[in-house]
Symmetry: C2
Subunit: 319 residues, 2 copies
Amino acid sequence: MTTHTLVASATREHIIGFDKPFTIIGERINPTGRKKLAAEMQAGNFDTVRADVLAQVAAGAHILDVNAGVTAVNPNETEPPLMRLVLEIVQSMTDTPLCIDSSVSSALKAGLETAKGRPLVNSVTGEEEKLEAILPLVAKYNVPVVAISNDENGISEDPDVRFEVAKKIVQRAADHGIKPWDIVVDPLVMPIGAMGTAGQQVFRLVRRLREELKVNTTCGASNISFGMPNRRALTGYFLAMAASHGMTSAIMNPLHDEDMHAIFGANVLNGTDRNCKFWTNRFREMTSGPSAAAQAAGLQSSNEDIEARRKAREERRRR
Amino acid sequence: MTTHTLVASATREHIIGFDKPFTIIGERINPTGRKKLAAEMQAGNFDTVRADVLAQVAAGAHILDVNAGVTAVNPNETEPPLMRLVLEIVQSMTDTPLCIDSSVSSALKAGLETAKGRPLVNSVTGEEEKLEAILPLVAKYNVPVVAISNDENGISEDPDVRFEVAKKIVQRAADHGIKPWDIVVDPLVMPIGAMGTAGQQVFRLVRRLREELKVNTTCGASNISFGMPNRRALTGYFLAMAASHGMTSAIMNPLHDEDMHAIFGANVLNGTDRNCKFWTNRFREMTSGPSAAAQAAGLQSSNEDIEARRKAREERRRR
């Protein structure tokens, strides 16, 4: 038994699942923390949005997150029409499935009216007000939703509390007829520089969410490395490690090679890159001949048996 | 309760443990697959050995593996005296703890007579002949030992069988008074290119070995990426992922930056790099200012809360 979350545009389906390659949700179309982009979008200039669509799709994003939160001033008025407009632009350019991202319920509603297919909704939390506003929308449009494990009490530093919040959301969703496989839980990633257990918390939470609630998971991966040097490398290792514990997607920047390579590697090592085909094609130019590879391996004598079998295999292949 | 394996030279101790940074066992001093080194060592030229000692220690190896298997011809005659000689050279140069590596029991015995402190013995297997030859030596010298999970039937492709072999070795060791914390199990890493489940097998085995047998673990990490392009990156991701499931050491090349960085990252994310001090010192020059970092993060709105708390924290720090 595996859990499949179906996300779709008008013409293309994508499945998030334990037995699938890790899902890359491109985070770029989001003016939060991008002042220049916010100003452009407010002025009706969508050149950067268009460039971000093309670049992220080319880099291998499976889903594109779309956020139109350009201002904190009266977002109930400004955000819904802008969300509609941006979604129309994006889906005129690509058949990549979309993720409608807003903290404003009316903008999510406008997004659901505009997006074709089966977009992912980002997000509901465990807050009563959010549950009551968002879950009926999710049920009405029969779409999957990201569930963030915080509530009225904020973000707990205790992972068991965050698990219970996720469990509450799954239960409340069930009351609306929403199935666990349509809920993608974000267990919340803390900066490792501020909390040394942040990584271990996520690894354990992801395992529990998968085993006990049978849900797919996602995260804003770059949070983990906030304030750290060489942070892209660290984010990449985090993604690979989280994926090996069952994390099935991340909202991330597909233009960061370090993150992407870590995910490609994790897919190979988790057995979801069938026959290592994707990795082999991607890095084909970095292949060295088998004897050079054996040389470079510097293999230890305790592994002579494996080595001998491998050499025989290589030998057979070459004939 | 944690498991500590103490490895020591005459004057320096190193602990392999679940709560410790990942242990790097330098694999370079090993003529297996290094024809030039084998020829040098046979000719009594130890320049490369000396260079490998210095380079590996400088790169951060915690333990140095020493193998003197220069020839398959009459190793019972040639290997013990060469093992003595190499160990003497190495321990005259460094106080880094050593790992005596041989498939020849008489060479392990010679090594144990020569090495000061508490060297790691590499290795015993589940083969009856090995158990009877090696375990009494390990008990007599009161040293820790690497236990490789294969037996007379070779290497099983079934991880449950490999677990049972490891369990048998631990039990047989107990008969000799050897404690579980002095056994470091190598669950055997298969090439992922030949067996798509090789990664998942190791992750699950490492968790079982840690939880059920309470033993530390090691591996020849580079086996995983045999025959694959961009193999060093893949080996690095494997190391980070294995470490997140509880792998506590690897016999590896400390001169490969990709492997080492992955381990440094895994230490941060597993909470064993206290206060991220090692990572921060190592990559200090790659720090960017907090506002640039926040910009680069491209943080998603769903994480605004974390973001706001972080910014407040950064703000306090800057004052």
